[in-house]
């Protein structure tokens, strides 16, 4: 029986989950800017309540982004530290997939695209489309990208579910959401969903060494080089 810890801090929520004895326990708070304060006490209490020492885990799974750079790195810094200290491997999971998984868990609609749009600030969203497979696990059917709300380019005439705060915060996406068969604008990536996706990933992959606990930012144009004058 594989025991996993999961950490997800890529957005405004801070969550931690423990998979033990076939069930998942999760701590979740919506607490923007408070990850540094809340994350480790949550890890500590979750492990203590389960009476499970860190070393007994099989791996640590984490939301690898995309998302808010700073909170994402707090989570990944913690994953690196825990994994390095306890000599555990890690499992990266897309935070957009974890958000989509939320919707898949609550809606039974199969064959329906799950469109995830999370606010990326600067008038952009992180966007990706998923389909749930026969086991209810979401599979990516488009590239993860960061783009303006007008440029998500999804086909509004094929049935879809609108997921994430991007559909609430930008007018173009609010309009798109009116055509969705269902919408779930307050879904956040959660550690419980990270566990589910990590267990699936581990069926066909080996977990990775701690140094591979790395963020995926998608937005990579963060500075401009000065041109010679």
């Amino acid at each position: 029986m594989s025991e996993l810890l999961a950490i997800e801090t890529s957005a405004e929520a801070c969550s931690v989950a423990l998979h033990i004895g076939g069930e998942t326990r999760e701590r979740f708070v919506h607490a923007p800017m408070r990850h540094a304060e809340l994350l480790l006490p949550a890890v500590q209490s979750l492990l203590a309540d389960a009476g499970l020492p860190l070393k007994r885990l099989e791996a640590i799974a984490f939301g690898r982004g995309p998302g808010s750079f700073t909170s994402l790195r707090i989570g990944i810094g913690v994953v690196q530290g825990l994994a390095w200290g306890a000599d555990l491997p890690v499992v990266p999971v897309s935070s957009l997939a974890a958000t989509a998984q939320q919707a898949a868990d609550y809606s039974s609609a199969e064959h329906e695209r799950i469109c995830v749009a999370l606010d990326a600030r600067m008038q952009e969203v992180y966007f990706c489309e998923f389909l749930a497979d026969g086991e209810g696990i979401v599979r990516r059917v488009s590239e993860e990208r960061v783009c303006s709300p007008a440029a998500v380019g999804t086909d509004p005439d094929q049935p879809f579910i609108a997921v994430g705060n991007g559909f609430e915060r930008y007018e173009e996406l609010q309009q798109l959401a009116t055509k969705a068969s269902a919408s779930c604008v307050d879904a956040w990536p959660r550690a419980g969903a990270i566990i589910k996706l990590a267990l699936d990933w581990l069926q066909s992959h080996d977990p990775l060494p701690p140094a591979r606990a790395q963020p995926v930012y998608i937005r990579n144009n963060v500075a401009v080089k000065p041109t010679a004058d």
Binding site: E37, V43, Q44, G81, P215
Partner: protein, 338 residues
Amino acid sequence: MRVLGIETSCDETGVALYDGELGLMAHSLYSQAHIHAEYGGVVPEIASRDHVRKLIPLLDECLREAACGRSDIDGVAYTAGPGLVGALLVGASAGRAIALSLNVPAVAVHHMEGHLLAPLLEPNPPEFPFVALLVSGGHSMLVEVAAIGEYRVLGETRDDAAGEAFDKTAKLLGLGYPGGPALAIAAESGDPDKFSFPRPMTDRPGLEFSFSGLKTHTRNLWHKHSNEDNAQADIAAGFQKAVVDTLVIKCRRAMQQTRCGHLVIAGGVGANLQLREALSRAGRKYGWGVSYPRIEFCTDNGAMIAFAGYHRLLAGQFESEVILAKPRWPMKDLGTLR
């Protein structure tokens, strides 16, 4: 007690192991300076991203070098500030989590306390009390050190830090980034007396610094003379001498005022050879002992953080599971060891 130190406050990722009996066992450092050079200064987001990539490989390297295992670590010290918040958070998150996973205490270290104590890592460390001249990229101050944790700031800069003045002047002269070492090299072939430079804040009493007037003076000189032969080297040499002279005058005043017998130089500008020589000369002339860290421990490194953290942990200080990052953290708010 064996302490793992982690430094990520700016553009250097540093990791070290300090042992109370064996001393410094190993240290590993990665400098991002060449990456930021293309931007003409530190880009905070790029710095944070690079720390996340480099930290684990450096931790592995450091343990290998020290030939010790994780279970031999008795405490973790990480830089909690001052510095770039995103960069600080990388080392703070990982450092605090390592302590949790090893079930050992963690302590949040003040970056400037690290710099200040770096000379104590050398053989024949200075005895307390001493006066420290702290001259780095973000700070310039004179501090009276009665004991570890007991600091009295005697004077600070009113505007630019000494290292910042070196960096800005080097940029002005087209010498690139980081400017301090580049300017020092350029100055070697210059005549420091070709142009005259002010010695700021030396004509009135007090231990405060100000380097912005010197910067303006240098800019005016450069605009007037930039197409003259050797102007770049001459101005670099004159600027460097002005900074060094000013620092020497202030140090002498601080030594007289405190009646301390020992001066310690720390921080990146402490790597400047002219400054080291000038202060050694002053020490011989006026009878003070003078100590410096080795050149590589003048700029940011993990060793100084492991060392400062060791003393705080030894005194029983430690923090809860909260990850501390304080981009602004005045030295006067730093707690004593008791």
